[in-house]
């Protein structure tokens, strides 16, 4: 009590400043690892992409000259790019709704307390452990026009330009089914039993309960899946490369396939521009999905 009042206040001040410096250092230390990884694998490649798009390479890709934004304008309006956009968008429409519906159906079927249901849950989820290459090889065996078991199913025929993309899409649907199943099942199991019981007492039949209760309550999972499956579909490459190699007649040349394949070193700039285009399209579609779906999604109380 004999100490002057100002001294302890000053000490407090120093202590709090020291602490805030310490907190800042700690914060930076926590950010460090992800900052390094993002810089190395995201920000720098993105910068290189934009830079490559502004230059044209020589035939061997050893030198480049500045061409500016004209390359962007030319490539993004080229028939080749627009064709790729059309095929990729079609691919999204083939894979996302079908994959989502099938995944939800499987999850609803498997969301039951029955003896042995774990076996089915494991089987339904198993495709999550397969790679694109595995899925593609399986579908190659199934629907390849020459050797496939279902090679003569014209609806999926890989040798017909009109149906080849559907065949490729089916392999993606199958491959992503496990992921969709797991996430929807987790969403279903997070619905409190009492909510379903209340709906039963309210006289809701299975269909009404599904549309009025189940779907709204798993909407966060569904929204996540719509976004992720759309991004996956825009990025489709390996399945195209393995199953059709972009053919027949370029009918399965998705945007990523166009970016990566059949590019001479002198076309690296064009590829970079297309990649930037894909980035902007994916970003735009994802943002649009968030804006449209967010209003209809219910996140728990």
């Amino acid at each position: 009590m004999t100490k002057p009042l100002a001294v302890p206040v000053d000490e407090d001040h120093v202590r709090s400043r020291r602490r805030s410096i310490k907190d800042t250092m700690l914060g930076l230390a926590f950010l460090g690892p992800s900052a390094v990884i993002f810089t190395a694998f995201f920000f720098y490649p993105l910068y290189r992409l934009v830079w490559l798009g502004l230059h044209q390479q020589n035939r061997t890709g050893t030198r480049e000259r500045w061409v500016g934004f004209s390359q962007y304008a030319d490539t993004l309006t080229s028939a080749d790019f627009l064709d790729g956009v059309r095929i990729s968008a079609t691919y999204v429409l083939y894979t996302v709704p079908l994959g989502l519906v099938l995944g939800v159906l499987l999850a609803v079927v498997a969301d039951r307390k029955l003896r042995g249901i774990k076996v089915f849950q494991t089987i339904f989820a198993s495709t999550v452990a397969s790679s694109v290459a595995v899925a593609s090889v399986i579908f190659f065996v199934l629907i390849n026009p020459q050797v496939g078991y279902f090679g003569d199913v014209s609806f999926l025929s890989l040798s017909d330009p009109g149906s080849a993309l559907r065949g490729v899409a089916l392999s993606s649907v199958w491959q992503n089914l496990g992921l969709t199943f797991i996430i929807v099942l987790a969403g279903l199991q997070a619905i409190p039993a009492e909510i379903n019981e209340a709906a039963t007492l309210d006289g809701y039949g299975p269909f009404r309960r599904f549309w009025r209760i189940t779907i709204p309550l798993i909407s966060p999972s569904l929204m996540f899946l719509v976004v992720v499956l759309t991004v996956f579909a825009f990025q489709a490459y390996a399945q195209v490369d393995i199953l059709t190699g972009g053919g027949p007649a370029g009918a399965t040349e998705t945007l990523v396939w166009k970016i990566f394949s059949d590019k001479e070193p002198s076309q690296y700039g064009e590829g970079a521009v297309m990649a930037s285009g894909l980035f902007v399209i994916t970003l735009g579609v994802t943002l649009a999905q968030f804006r449209i779906l967010e209003k209809r999604v219910h996140y728990g109380a």
Binding site: I195, A198, L201, R208
Partner: protein
Amino acid sequence: MLADVVSVSVSRVLFEDVTKSFGEVVAVDSLDLEVIDGEFLVLLGPSGCGKTTVLRMVAGLETVTQGTLRIGNRVVNDVEAKDRDVAMVFQSYALYPHMNVRKNIESPLVARHFSVDGGAPRKLTASERSQRITQAAETLGLASLLDRKPAALSGGQRQRVALARAIVSRPAAFLMDEPLSNLDAKLRAETRLELVELHRKLGTTIIYVTHDQVEAMTMADRIAVISDGRLQQVGAAQEVYDRPSNLFVAHFMGSPPMNTFEATVAGGGREGEVTGAAGRVRIDAGPAISLPPVGSRVVVGVRPEHLRSQGHGQQGRQQEGLRARVSAVEWLGYERHVICDVAGRTITLREPAEGQAPNLGEEIYLDVVANHVLLFDPATSERIP
């Protein structure tokens, strides 16, 4: 408005030898119980005793393994939940989080068919539904909250929405599964009163599950005490408290619980005596009761409020009663609980918090209010007689 809300259905619920087993486990064992039309019946018991299973069988959420369950005069064993004309309030309220209050209250009206003015059951029109929603919301003071989502409501408000959703369908019986357990103590006390008031207004049968004896005693017309899947006793609160039919009920009802200790009958007749390790207790058994023969072993039950402490501070004055050593004193403002050691058993005495409290370790004598002593058979644990 009220006349509209009042149910006209006959809503007796009758259990006849009802058993429910889950595989090997028998959750409810040969239950015989009549819930009288219009009464507020509380199913009381410790957790896991089967009381919720009883309620869920009435709701139609569990099937009846054996026996007959009637609502009104109808056997409902095989009737679907939605056709049983009952409404349930869940412990978690089970409100639909994506619907606003109006939609939540409307929910039981949308899919089911209702008989209006005695006509054939049909779907309600939109205006009939909105009229009922308004009524239910007004009854529970929710009129200003109709457009909110449950997430934007307090616990008490959510509880009211759950109640409104129950009354809007004007069921024959309300089934409530610990509906107050998620509220804080103050709100719980208020809501107890409101539930009693609601029951008085609507006159509809309520079957109410709880493990909280205070809720049971304050609200119930009758209490059915359940343990291990068996009905132990059913009766008005005071009857169950004053005349517990066995040791389980004696211990379960009352806080602190009834004191019990073994003793031997030392004197027969109407006014008898029992002796235990700690002393003698005089019993005034009342005219209708005959004591077991002298020499029988009995379990003596005395409520904490029927013990008087003699002579703390005046040592050795009293030689009758039970010799006790004070091991703790709990002070609750209006009363105190003196916890004593009596010949190795813990005996609790409840007394007004007046005067000097006994000291820890002090030896006191406990006098028993003779006409409140209960005797139980140590073999069957049933009350004598």
